[in-house]
């Protein structure tokens, strides 16, 4: 079982997202994240999907996606060099001045932006890889009492020049 990535070109139509996500629930596939948005061609949407599965199930997932009329193309991104980012907001609440300073330091180390601040809270805006976001959340959780997190799910695109992920 490991995490695998799929880019999916689909018709930009009503019900397509429901159909794709329904496949995952209906067939008990383990969906980690799914993001969707239109592409340069507004009749086409591109989804970035992360699933956890074994090899056989993953093959089956790709085939099942491929046979959907609304799916134009399935690209397996699992072993492809790519750029991948996930947007994440993390609010750290109920902190004192010293703790606030610490949040600022963490932001600096993680290269994330401090996009808002209050008397006892700070808002971080992160565009990291999913894994780096996970690490950031783990760190914030270990250090502070109250955090509030909203994640956007990862988007990915194949690399132009780099050969690593």
């Amino acid at each position: 079982m490991k995490n695998r990535w799929i880019a999916l070109y689909v018709e930009n139509q009503v019900g397509v997202l429901a159909k794709v996500s329904g496949l995952f629930s209906g067939k008990s596939y383990n969906l980690q994240s799914l993001t969707v948005g239109t592409t340069e061609d507004e009749t086409v949407s591109r989804m970035t999907i992360c699933v956890t599965s074994d090899d056989i199930t993953f093959e089956q997932i790709k085939k099942q996606l491929n046979r959907m009329v609304e799916v134009i193309k399935v690209i397996d991104l699992t072993d492809v060099p790519l750029h991948m980012k996930e947007i994440l907001f993390a609010k750290v609440l109920g902190i004192n001045a010293a703790e606030k300073l610490e949040v600022f330091q963490i932001a600096q180390v993680f290269h994330v932006e401090v996009s808002d601040v209050g008397n006892d809270s700070v808002l971080l805006e992160c565009k990291l890889t999913e894994r780096r976001n996970n690490e950031l959340i783990a760190l914030l959780r270990s250090k502070f009492r109250r955090i509030e997190v909203v994640r956007g799910g990862a988007v990915a695109i194949e690399s132009i020049s780099t050969s690593c992920r």
Partner: protein, 573 residues
């Protein structure tokens, strides 16, 4: 010049060559019915329930090779066809189903008879869509017929809001359609096929496993040629029965849960399993770890997703059965498998398909008479014990087709599917086999058969029980016959162990019921009367006949492999 949606609807059906549709009216489709009233090229069959309607369309499509067309109203009309959609999806039957929908402006308001039928049927249709713009209607209908009938066929649902039906728009119905996400496979990978052929060539104990794909593709002749040329024995799935004539010496029988002993032994012992047009359903494989353990497996299927899903195969080939067999026939050389065939014959001799002949009328006897009686005929079954007996004992060839609900196992399928088959093939005899449970699930279609002048012959196997489940209770649940006795009444003893003289009478009286519909009824209790009943039923050309065969409750379907067990572990007695 622009025309209304309802006019384009009829025009589209005409251009698709549709001559029969199965329709039940209602508020949101009255416009479409009104338009059908004004033309006479398309006949509208009015059933008595939408579930009957869609099974009729399935029987029609299966028996004619055409697309079955359904037209029902929104809400309950639409939800009532869902079982049939799932059935057609499983058994790859081409259907185009039109559902009415509330006007666009009311969608989402919980309007009267509004349901999100496209959402509800997403996983049981090949494609489904709500028409949201009048100008899309023609293209969507064209797409529907194309998708339903190509590749692995299946049901397509088109939901048409009432205001789209009356809105004006382009009059053109496209002659073709391009769908960027849908490209049915029309080629075969010759390299893969060569590998498959090499395996077959070298095999000492080769076996063909033929599924429903052979019958759908109409590749029966080619499969027969390949089997005969290379002398490869053939087993079939339920849906594949008839893939080669059952009388051919190379044909062993059905494999699977209720397969023949020799067929399951052949699967268990073969060294190359050449499977084509099957998806290795659990009813065929049993315990996956013990399935064809000694064999290299070749799997040919038109649906990529069917390959390597249930069974890991050695040589996968994505192809239409016809294309692949055509290519294989170019290479096929004769080969000697006499020893292997002798081994299979020995298995068959050891445990033949045979019911006892010393305790009255058995299902086997009925099928023997049927096999002797009908020339060109379409056999249709419902679901249950009679279905398994039918697939064990019916003789099929180019003149005898079998239609059955395989994947979904839909009780209530038989009678309406037989009516649909008769409507599509008025010149052929259509024989429906059903149980007393299944027949009652769509018994209202007797009226449809009568008003359509569809004289199907219904062989009803009445054993007073939901026999297939009773059989499981008998074998695996300590004879605790919960909710399977159809005679059971409130005052029956709680722990009843089976029929006894104090049992209450059966209801309904099927003979009187048939007569009340204006149909015919014959009750048969002894073997001596089987032939006369069949002969008499064949003389009735005006209305259907129910022949009620009174079958012993003790008769069970054997062999049987318990669900999840290896196929070689058969219960034989």
């Amino acid at each position: 010049m622009d025309i209304t949606g309802r006019k384009l609807f009829v025009k589209a059906l005409q251009e698709e060559g549709v001559t029969t549709i199965f329709g039940y009216p209602g508020g949101t489709v009255t416009d479409l019915f009104d338009e059908l009233y004004k033309q006479d090229g398309i006949e509208v069959v009015l059933p008595r329930h939408e579930q009957g309607l869609i099974h009729e369309a399935e029987g029609y499509a299966k028996s004619t090779g055409k697309v079955g067309v359904c037209l029902v109203t929104s809400g309950p009309g639409a939800t009532n066809i869902m079982t049939g959609l799932a059935d057609a999806h499983y058994d790859s039957i081409p259907l185009v189903c039109f559902t009415g929908q509330v006007p666009l402006s009311l969608i989402g308001n919980d309007a009267f008879q509004e349901v999100d039928i496209v959402g509800m049927t997403r996983s049981i249709t090949k494609y489904g869509v709500t028409v949201r713009r009048r100008e899309d209607l023609g293209r969507i209908i064209k797409m529907a017929f194309y998708i339903a009938s190509t590749g692995k066929p299946g049901p397509v649902l088109i939901d048409i809001p009432k205001d789209i039906q009356t809105a004006s728009g382009p009059a053109e119905y496209p002659s073709s359609v391009q769908i960027r996400g849908y490209k049915p496979n029309e080629t075969v990978h010759v390299g893969q096929l060569k590998k498959a052929y090499k395996l077959l060539r070298a095999a000492k104990r080769p076996l063909i496993l033929a599924g429903g794909g052979i019958n759908i593709a109409g590749a029966n002749d080619k499969l027969l040629q390949l089997a005969e040329k290379m002398q490869i024995p053939v087993v079939t799935t339920i849906m594949g029965k008839g893939a080669i004539p059952t009388g051919n010496p190379l044909y062993i029988g059905n494999s699977g849960m209720h397969g023949k002993y020799a067929a399951n032994m052949a699967v268990s012992k073969c060294d190359v399993l050449f499977s084509i047009g099957t998806r290795f359903n659990d009813r065929i494989t049993g315990d996956l770890n013990e399935f064809a353990p000694k064999a290299k497996i070749v799997h040919i299927d038109v649906d990529t997703a069917s390959i390597s899903r249930n069974v890991v195969v050695d040589v996968p080939v994505v192809s239409d059965a016809n294309l692949a067999l055509e290519k294989l026939l170019e290479w096929a050389e004769s080969k000697d498998t006499a020893e292997w065939q002798a081994q299979i014959a020995e298995w068959d001799k050891k445990n033949p398909l045979e019911m006892r002949r010393d305790h009255g009328m058995t299902p086997q006897m009925i099928f023997e008479h049927v096999n002797r009686t009908f020339g060109e005929a379409i056999y249709v079954t419902d679901v249950g014990q009679h279905q398994m007996w039918a697939t064990q004992y019916l003789e099929l060839d180019a003149w005898h087709q079998l239609i059955t609900s395989g994947g979904l196992g839909t009780m209530g399928f038989g009678l309406p599917a037989a009516i649909g088959a008769k409507i599509g093939n008025p010149e052929k005899e259509v024989v429906c086999f059903s149980g007393d449970g299944g027949l009652q699930m769509n018994i209202q279609e007797m009226a449809t058969a009568v008003v359509q002048g569809a004289p199907v012959i219904i062989c009803l196997f009445n054993n007073y029980y939901l026999g297939m489940v009773r059989q499981m209770q008998q074998l695996f649940y300590g004879k605790r016959y919960e909710a399977t006795c159809l005679r059971r009444r409130k005052n029956c003893p709680a722990n009843c162990k089976g029929p006894n003289p104090a049992c209450p009478p059966y209801t309904p009286d099927f003979i009187a019921l048939a007569e009340s519909y204006g149909a015919h009824g014959i009750r048969v209790e002894r073997e001596e009367d089987i032939q006369a009943a069949l002969d008499q039923a064949r003389t009735y050309k005006d209305a259907p006949t129910i022949i009620e065969f009174m079958i012993s409750t003790d008769e069970i379907v054997l062999p049987m492999v318990k669900s999840g067990n290896p196929m070689s572990e058969m219960i034989l007695k």
